[in-house]
Each structure stands twice: as C-alpha cells, then as structure tokens.
Symmetry: C2
Subunit: 136 residues, 2 copies
C-alpha cells in the first residue's frame, strides 16, 4: 500500500522507531532503530548478527512505531508489513547517511571490524496511529 505524506515524513525525519519482530516461538521482540523511507518502503539499518535481522530472515512480519522527536504529542504511526529486501550492498553507505541525519557525523562512528550493515526494506501493508489519518 502507498503511505500518505505525513507518514513518510515521520520516517524521513530525525525520528526514532521501535521495531517489533517475532522470535522463533512467535513472541514479539522490540528494539529501537533509526528509520528512513525511499517513498515506497519504510526502512532501517541493522547488522547481520542482530536478533531482529535473524528473526526477519525466518519470518518477515514486522511492525515499526515512529514517534516525532520534536512536538511529541503531534502524532505517531505504526506501520505493519513485511521485510521484502535485505540490502547489504548499500548497507555501509546507508548507515553513514543515517549517522549524518541522526548524529550530524559523516561516518557512522560505531562500526565494528567485520560488521556487515544491512538496509531492511519493509513493504507496508497497513498502518495506524494518531495525527496521520488513522487506517487499519
């Protein structure tokens, strides 16, 4: 589904998300992330040893809740969908772009030796929230 502009703006802005994935036994796992969008997908960047990456490899179900960093009562969104692409080819340059957005730094400062960054691209299936034209 196509997301409205105000939902995309929550993902393109300097806002934090909370990603929910499912463990092997089906119980939810919840962690914060930096978020992004290419206009069609909502996205975040992780590395290939994180639990959430492993969960999504097995089960692409995902929810991402985003709150605005400023004017916190203005609205929020949760996007529900499926992780449809894991882009390691551009994961390194993307985490640097995220470091620029969130930290104002040209290079992601916490990269570990051998760490492989990955862009997880999520195809939205529904969303709900407040101040975003709730749907779902």
């Amino acid at each position: 589904m196509a997301l409205p502009d105000n939902v995309k703006q929550l993902f393109s802005g300097k806002n934090f998300g909370t990603v929910v994935t499912r463990r092997a036994d089906g119980t939810p796992h919840s962690t914060p992330v930096w978020v992004d969008t290419d206009g069609e997908h909502v996205m975040f960047n992780t590395n290939t040893i994180r639990a959430k990456y492993k969960h999504l490899q097995r089960d692409p179900w995902i929810a991402i809740t985003v709150l605005p960093s400023e004017n916190l009562q203005s609205g929020y969104v949760t996007v529900y969908g499926k992780a449809v692409e894991f882009d390691t080819e551009h994961g390194g340059e993307h985490i640097d772009a995220m470091a620029k957005k969130y930290l104002g730094e040209d290079t992601y400062p916490w990269l570990q030796p051998g760490e492989e960054r990955v862009i997880v691209k999520v195809k939205p299936e529904s969303y709900d929230g407040y101040g975003v034209g709730a749907q779902d």
Copy 2:
C-alpha cells in the same frame, strides 16, 4: 525480577515508551505510551476501550521499549513481563500526574466524557537494552 536503578530511571523520567501486546491471533500490536514505575512494576496509563487494554485482559504478555527523550544515544531498555494489575480506582489521578510530567499541566487535557482511565501495572520478567546492563 527487580530492575536496576538506571532502568527504573528510564520509566520515571519524561521518556516515551512503545507498548507491544498480542492480538487475539497472536500478532503483535505496537503503540506509544507515557511510562511510569512504582519501583516494583513498570506502568502506563490507558483507557478501557483501547485495543491494548483489551488485548492485555485476554493475554497479559507485554513488552515496553523506552528511549530517553534527551541524549537519545545514551541507552534504551525493553522490559518484558506480564500485566498483573489494572487499577481503575486511581487511573484518573494517575493520568493527571502523567499530564504534569509530560505536559506540565495539572489536569490531563484530553479526557473524554465517560472515559475510564486505568493504570496497567507490569511485573517485569526480563529486560534487554543498551547502556542499562543488558540482561535477557
């Protein structure tokens, strides 16, 4: 389980949480909340018609991820546990206390006629995170 002080401080401070509950079909449901703690439980305030309240009545499994509102890279926590108490008797005074903490207002400004507020108290069973002495 007892939570360490820095986890409690994330809940007592002016920080936002994301609550994950399970729908009837087991899929996770994720929404932001104001958070609190009484030292033993982690808590949030909702009303009795919200989906998350209904989910917890049926299935007490819950996760709450809290990010600091300031110094956002300093750490975060996700507490996993069970909703063990639903306090409607003190829900109204508690939402006013939350409005004081988050909005600086003496009274919660968005109360609707007939709305019943409820404090959901969560007994922590595990937690993980960053900058909080990860455990789980």
